[in-house]
Symmetry: C2
Subunit: 203 residues, 2 copies
DNA sequence: CCTTTTTGTTATACTGTGTAACAATTGTTT
DNA sequence: AAACAATTGTTACACAGTATAACAAAAAGG
């Protein structure tokens, strides 16, 4: 049986080059608009030959994806444990943890915001989050309200992302614990209530 | 008193050229990805000299903005009348009207979706919608929950846009009247409930 | 009909993407 | 350590798209 991340060690030169390119992109995004960043600029900052970029990534988007995947995996773990909680108290705690996590890695999330010139990235993030919540919504689902579940999970995912964006744009101003409360009330409780009321009508 | 637009009649050639360019962009967006559209392509389809584009728009984004502003003004009117409703029955009717309006002009809204490679456009749309709702939320506002009002109006605006996007991606599948119900329950009622519960805590 | 404005034509500079050939360097194996 | 393999650097080039300039042609308005 072949392993998933197999015994084939990647060349240290390759790891080094890719890391240099990722770091260069990150530092550039923190300085200027993503749309204004060129491949040439990245390779120059990374101290790497121009052509080397194309030997590792087929486009600038791919590099951005790699950077974001790396950084978002931590957040998704938080969201996942949160989605599996049903106790009220635990929900508030987990909501707070999300915003504390973002606070710690705020640079990374500013990148996520800025790089959203590329909408595909946003859509991918939304889908990842929506899938997580859909799983934990499924128990409530009956045949006749599958659409409702789809709408609800999409609604939660997009709302959470929008709330995070709003928070970052407001310099992370209400504290994480307050944002945790807002999250629970405005997004989770609201959606759960709406879903049951919508189901009640179609019953 | 000088009027806003009227007495200075714009040259018919200018009106014609701008209309040709707008139409060309629309027809191209319906065919392919916005990011893959060049100015040269637009001018060729519009049967207009390449340089003429720059005599009217400083960038491709500006042209896109003009196209969307024109098309979205109708939707914003619907949303505005909706935001000023407080009767439950009227709210459902107005919610339905939104989605019926979108159904009628679905081509235009597919453009809005596709052209969101440019996130600035989306942000502008969100802000416009948020301002509308903020006005009608203000009566409920006290000093201590101004933040809550900001969050709430932003939440309503982004949620509505996300719901519209979801609906278009699902081929406008639940009927407009059902979407109107969903809108009322999932977005309006939920948010109102959440705001009052959040205010109650901080009281 | 004459003047003004807009548009078309042609040429040019510039930036960024993407590829190719070959040399130089670094990693791996025996 | 030597031989081999893989990666990276250098240089050159083709190509597409943006943006501007100068001048001729056409259309609008008094």
């Amino acid at each position: 049986m072949p392993n998933k991340t197999p015994p084939v060690k990647t060349d240290p030169r390759v790891r080094r080059t890719r890391r240099l390119l990722r770091d260069a992109l990150v530092s550039l995004i923190l300085e200027k608009d993503f749309a204004a960043i060129s491949i040439k600029e990245i390779t120059e900052r990374a101290d790497v030959a121009y052509i080397t970029f194309f030997r590792h990534y087929e486009s600038l988007d791919r590099l951005l994806m790699e950077v974001l995947d790396e950084g978002l995996s931590g957040l998704l773990i938080h969201i996942e444990t949160l989605a599996n909680q049903f106790e009220t108290s635990a929900l508030e705690t987990e909501g707070r943890l999300i915003f504390e996590y973002i606070e710690q890695k705020s640079d990374l999330f500013r990148i996520l915001l800025k790089s959203q010139s590329v909408i595909r990235v946003r859509k991918k993030v939304v889908q990842n989050i929506a899938v997580i919540f859909k799983k934990s919504c499924m128990p409530l689902a009956r045949l006749d309200n599958l659409v409702t579940v789809n709408i609800a999970s999409n609604h939660i995912a997009t709302s959470l992302l929008s709330l995070i964006e709003w928070w970052l744009e407001n310099n992370m101003n209400p504290s994480p614990s307050e944002m945790g409360r807002v999250y629970k009330s405005l997004i989770i409780d609201s959606t759960v209530g709406a879903v049951s009321s919508l189901s009640a009508v179609s019953r």
